[in-house]
Symmetry: C2
């Protein structure tokens, strides 16, 4: 197993270094081939680093960054004024080849804008998209994009998302011809707005895609599709609504107060579904959305990720480096977008 | 309690008369003041009617309709060619004053288009919207619109939705100043597309609204808002995604095979949250979305509603008739839209 280096934006996220540094330890423990480039304020990272074991210290490198991109900062302003930010320097490390991927829990818009400028998009791709994996009823996974990187998308952009999503799913799930569906308000051809109908035509006429038609919101989790395509506005709201509903349900099933052991045991005995469900719905394992369509790997963690969830985002980056996702997507896109 | 008459589109929905007629019985039993105008094919309704008790027969009237609007028919084509359809005749009965409301589980687009033509919109309202109530974590309810009647909405339309949703919530929930939130991909002012930002400005500057700002998908169910405003494309996908996820969770918790009684009893004892949740999440009680902004009451049931869910939609119509929803909304809109 070759060693690899990932640049971690230590300052990003709602909780900053308190979560990112703890998740760094966890990820280093889980992936023996992982090295980390810790990008952020030296005065914060150095004390943490000196408190670690020698072997951890050897696998970490500190890159000082003077600035931090705020969570509510306008992307354009971050681009202009935050040239020394941890987010930007982490991305520049990827561009320079000092790291194979960047992981950040920071401002999504800024990460997207900076990534595009610094890493550039793949040939034929205009705008990167955020993609993540979600569980399906049949025990499988689906990949959904875009989840908020692009709030306005025309049909050509949605078509590119479909190509990238299909390529990504082939690579990480080992599915030769992923079923690609377009999120819409009905399954019938007459349903939807003009942008959706035009996209459907593009998808239908593309030989490189296994297009399976429209999919409605209620069918997303049924396992009928491997890739679900939508614009970033709809995708973001859809995903966050699912998170809110899941949290509502889990809280009502498993109240915060600790259950006595005998009760847990009894629940497990008479009600195995509940225990299985709690495990399956643990949002940590689905943290880490990838910014797809760049000439490099960028994984965006949830802003409010805890240590486990942040470590899952780093693991996602490790997987993508090992599978050489951007290169393999570029190869596949070449035939679909440029070769024809 | 004054008696009231509701026109029921017997032919509408995925299951047609087999569900609508059974739900008619249920609704008549639940509401002693209810009379029904059963609109549909005589050869289907008459045999059912003659099998009923004399008192039920007295409270039902049959209105024969030659045609049926298909579920996948284009609204414009239904408008032109289905002048004798059960949907259209049910709406015309409301316009003529023969019924106080129309309930249909048929084609949403056709119902919307026909309603607008036959019943007309309220003064100042351009396009009707679909609104429904959803449960919140704190045991309350929120009202969300639009849920699919309008796939493209400009900021003025979304503003009108906010006014109507606020008025509706005042009337049916007895909340003097409902908190109105705009669904967006972030809570910060910079988030969202132009249409959302323009709508926020309109909402902020309206004295008749208690505007509480942007709301993200994950916060919908937290009880932070009484009214959630979005365009019909986003609303439809968001609602259906919630339905799909709920069904996934309920199926995994309570598999289809019947549990033995002792096990149910044991689950109730050690795990009351699960039983409470199952009851709270029963989608039947949230069936029945109202088409708001018309000079009459139209309630749209889910196409695949079963008897209980369809009866809930009829109950929603009964409530709106009793509370005189369109009249009270018109009064409130007058000050907000026309009085200023």
């Amino acid at each position: 197993m070759n060693s690899l280096t990932i640049a971690l934006d230590v300052m990003g996220g709602d909780y900053g270094p308190s979560v990112t540094l703890a998740s760094a330890s966890k990820a280093l423990f889980e992936h023996p081939n992982l090295n980390l480039l810790l990008v952020g304020q030296q005065t914060v990272i150095e004390p943490w680093l000196t408190s670690q074991t020698a072997s951890i210290q050897q696998r970490c490198q500190l890159l000082h960054a003077d600035q931090v991109v705020e969570m509510d900062e306008r992307p354009v302003s971050a681009l202009r004024t935050k040239r020394q930010s941890s987010m930007r320097l982490a991305l520049e490390a990827v561009a320079a080849g000092d790291a194979s991927a960047c992981v950040s829990a920071g401002n999504t818009g800024a990460l997207m804008t900076m990534s595009k400028l610094i890493l550039k998009t793949l040939p034929g791709i205009e705008r990167p998209a955020l993609i993540t994996a979600l569980p399906t009823m049949d025990g499988g996974r689906l990949h959904m994009l875009d989840l908020g990187a692009n709030v306005d998308c025309d049909s050509e952009t949605l078509f590119q998302f479909a190509l990238m999503g299909s390529a990504m799913t082939q690579v990480v799930e080992n599915i030769p011809q992923p079923r690609v569906a377009l999120l819409n308000i009905g399954e019938e051809e007459i349903k939807g707005n003009d942008q959706i109908k035009q996209t459907a035509q593009l998808l239908q006429s593309c030989d490189d895609l296994n297009y399976s038609g429209y999919i409605e919101g209620n069918a997303i989790f049924m396992g009928h599709a491997d890739v679900v395509v939508c614009d970033g506005f709809v995708g973001n709201i859809c995903l966050k609504t699912c998170e809110g509903l899941t949290s509502l349900i889990l809280t009502s099933l498993f109240p915060k107060k600790q259950l006595p052991k005998w009760k847990k045991w009894l629940i497990g005995l008479v009600f195995p579904g509940a225990v299985k469900l709690k495990k399956a719905m643990n949002p940590d394992q689905y943290n880490g959305a990838s910014l797809l369509g760049l000439r490099g790997i960028v994984v965006k963690s949830h802003g409010n990720a805890d240590v486990g969830a942040m470590a899952a985002a780093i693991s996602e980056a490790v997987l993508e480096v090992e599978r050489q996702v951007p290169k393999r997507i570029a190869d596949m896109l070449e035939s679909a977008l440029l070769g024809n």
